[in-house]
């Protein structure tokens, strides 16, 4: 067993790190304040090859694999800059590649790989949260179309043109559909104002007799849960990578601050209270990182990682929150000001315990898997 990245992984990681330093770090604070993402960001991500990493080569992707993709996501998340909605093309693309019909693959995958459309997926609803058994959105077959009615809440990228994977009940059976966004019958609210900053745009999407071609049934009637679990398993690994990166950023900022800030003529880094905080931060990040790499590797081997990814997200999201909290503590009151990156990191860290299934959901999944053995 070797706990070492391969040469290929190191080069990809390095390129992603340089991209993040060059393109994201300089704009991160501004994007957090005003949400203005450079219009050519998607184009830059495409040119770097980051959008098609989980899409097969025959459809224009690079088939780089989940571990390579996770290495990229970790580096791109480090600047704490919410301008990476296009990266969801990898999750949506992989789902279509694994579970879609040939017609669906040919229609959507090349566009997703080239960033010409932005993919997304939406399960949560206003009154039902993320409870899979309480879906209110319905779909019925009328001639050659499925007619969908309902609302999805916190749909990230729901306002951007492209395919969305939407879950609805067909005769009380959870079923998935590929929906072209922004067509007749599909409408969006304005983005929520979130504590994580303005760059992340998440909306309500409403379906009023939205007609979707029969061929846009994704999987089978009643097969929605399996598709949901498949998508969210990768989503969890992605979020774990982002959470780890954010925690690392918090640690690096805290170390930098502790070395510079002086009290009574000495850096606060020489004080035991600060040193212990830094040590606690560091010893949480390493296990989160290597567990993320391992689960990504297992996914690449074709293994079912529902339980592992749930455990991983539960752990990594807690790491991000705790480490960000300790990072602010090192900064003292200066950490409350927007002059320091730690303020933005702290606001963003909480998100990981709530999105893509809350920590409570992850506990239920992990416990359910354990007790089935």
């Amino acid at each position: 067993m070797q706990f070492k990245l391969t040469m290929e992984q190191e080069i990809i990681q390095k390129q992603a790190r340089e991209f993040a330093q060059r393109e994201l770090e300089p704009i991160a604070a501004q994007v957090d304040r005003d949400g203005k993402i450079p219009p050519d960001m998607t184009e830059k991500l495409v040119k770097a090859g980051f959008l098609g990493m989980l899409i097969p080569k025959q459809y224009g992707g690079s088939e780089a694999g989940v571990l390579n993709w996770v290495l990229v996501m970790e580096q791109l998340s480090y600047p704490a800059c919410h301008c990476l909605e296009a990266m969801s093309n990898n999750i949506v693309g992989r789902a279509i590649a694994l579970l879609g019909t040939e017609e669906q693959k040919e229609r959507y995958l090349p566009l997703l790989a080239k960033g010409q459309v932005i993919g997304s997926y939406a399960f949560t609803e206003p009154g039902t949260g993320s409870d899979p058994k309480s879906l209110v959105t319905t779909a019925r077959l009328e001639g050659d179309s499925w007619v969908i009615n309902g609302i999805k809440r916190f749909h990230t990228g729901g306002h951007l043109d492209g395919p969305a994977i939407i879950f609805a009940n067909v005769d009380d059976k959870t079923t998935a559909f590929l929906v072209d966004k922004n067509v007749e019958g599909y409408s969006c609210s304005k983005p929520f104002e979130l504590m994580v900053g303005k760059g992340l745009e998440t909306v309500d999407t409403r379906f009023d007799d939205l007609r979707v071609p029969k061929g846009n049934l994704f999987g089978e009637v009643g097969g929605g849960f399996n598709i949901l679990f498949s998508i969210t398993a990768e989503g969890r690994v992605m979020l774990a990578a982002s959470a780890t990166a954010l925690a690392q950023a918090a640690l690096d900022e805290a170390v930098k601050y502790a070395k510079q800030r002086t009290r009574r003529g000495v850096p606060i880094a020489s004080m035991q209270a600060i040193q212990w905080l830094l040590a606690e931060m560091a010893c949480r990040i390493e296990p989160a990182r290597w567990a993320t790499y391992r689960i990504a590797w297992l996914t690449d081997q074709g293994q079912d990682t529902r339980m592992e990814s749930a455990m991983l997200k539960l752990f990594a999201s807690r790491v991000a929150k705790e480490v960000a909290d300790m990072g602010i503590q090192v900064h003292g009151s200066y950490g409350l000001t927007k002059d320091f990156k730690i303020e933005r990191i702290y606001r963003q860290a909480k998100m990981f315990e709530l999105t893509e299934g809350s920590s409570e959901v992850q506990r239920s999944i992990a416990a359910g898997s354990l007790l089935m053995r």
Binding site: M7, E8, I11, I12, Q15, G49, A64
Partner: protein, 262 residues
């Protein structure tokens, strides 16, 4: 046109320390990158490839991990990559390095232009390029920040203390470049995967280069490193400019003019 680019893998800035016993840099298990000025040399070669259809060969002397630098060069667009790797090369100074590189270049043969970075980020000697040119009997132009290549000649712009200098040279020639010459491209994920999974990095040892290691003693450097240490940062006296911002800025500009910084 055939272009050879010499690249070196150097430690990531801030990750290397000095062995107090030998004075050498401790490079084991330290992450490496292509030396920044060599990266610019490679980019310049790739621009020539785009313009003239040149064939670009990346050449590096280093330990096995230097293969990573060559894979990156292939991902950027180099056509061929050669690693000179042998235990006998360990600890080589610039004299031995230039000798080994020259042997490899003679073996590769048929080149029109050799591009090197002006100096490495770890050694900072700026000697290998000029030594290599002398060994190969080539005209050399160093510290180039702009390059135009024609059929049998080139024109190079270099910055000197008194201003800019334009130098013309006949091909084949050797050029060392500075970071001002270009901004290196970033290879895509697809290109990295192809470079790592499908392309070959040729490895040559002393036997392949016709180097008799028993005779390498004569290549021992006439100089010896006496000591190496990290100097203590020099404490300088600063001056705080007080008063309203506009006034402070005016004073600052005056100070900078007096010191001929601007």
């Amino acid at each position: 046109m055939n272009v050879i680019v010499c690249i070196k893998q150097v430690p990531v800035s801030g990750t290397v320390s000095i062995d107090p016993r030998t004075g050498a840099l401790k490079r084991e298990n330290v992450p490496g990158v292509i030396n920044p000025e060599d990266l610019c040399a490679l980019e310049e070669a790739l621009l020539l490839k785009q313009k003239h259809g040149s064939r670009v060969t990346a050449l590096s002397m280093g330990p096995p991990q230097a293969e990573g630098a060559l894979r990156e060069a292939l991902a950027m667009g180099a056509d061929r990559a050669v690693l000179l790797c042998d235990r006998a090369f360990a600890g080589s100074d610039t004299l031995v390095t230039s000798y080994v590189l020259a042997q490899a270049i003679r073996k590769l043969g048929g080149f029109d232009l050799i591009l090197c970075g002006k100096q490495s980020a770890d050694g900072n000697t700026a000697q290998v390029g000029p030594e290599l040119a002398e060994r190969l009997g080539l005209p050399q132009v160093t510290s180039v920040q702009r390059l135009e290549v024609y059929q049998e000649r080139l024109e190079a712009e270099r910055a000197v203390e008194s201003g800019l200098q334009w130098v013309e040279a006949r091909l084949p020639a050797l050029i060392t470049v500075t970071r001002r010459i270009n901004t290196p491209r970033q290879p895509s994920v697809e290109a990295i995967l192809v470079a790592c999974r499908e392309k070959e990095v040729i490895t040559w040892k002393t036997d392949d280069l016709g180097i008799d290691t028993s005779s390498m003693r004569f290549l021992e450097s006439p100089t010896r490193m006496a000591a190496a240490w990290v100097p203590e940062p020099r404490k300088r006296e600063g001056e705080m400019l007080a008063g309203p911002t506009k006034e402070a800025v005016r004073t600052l500009l005056e100070r900078l003019r007096q010191r001929q910084v601007i």
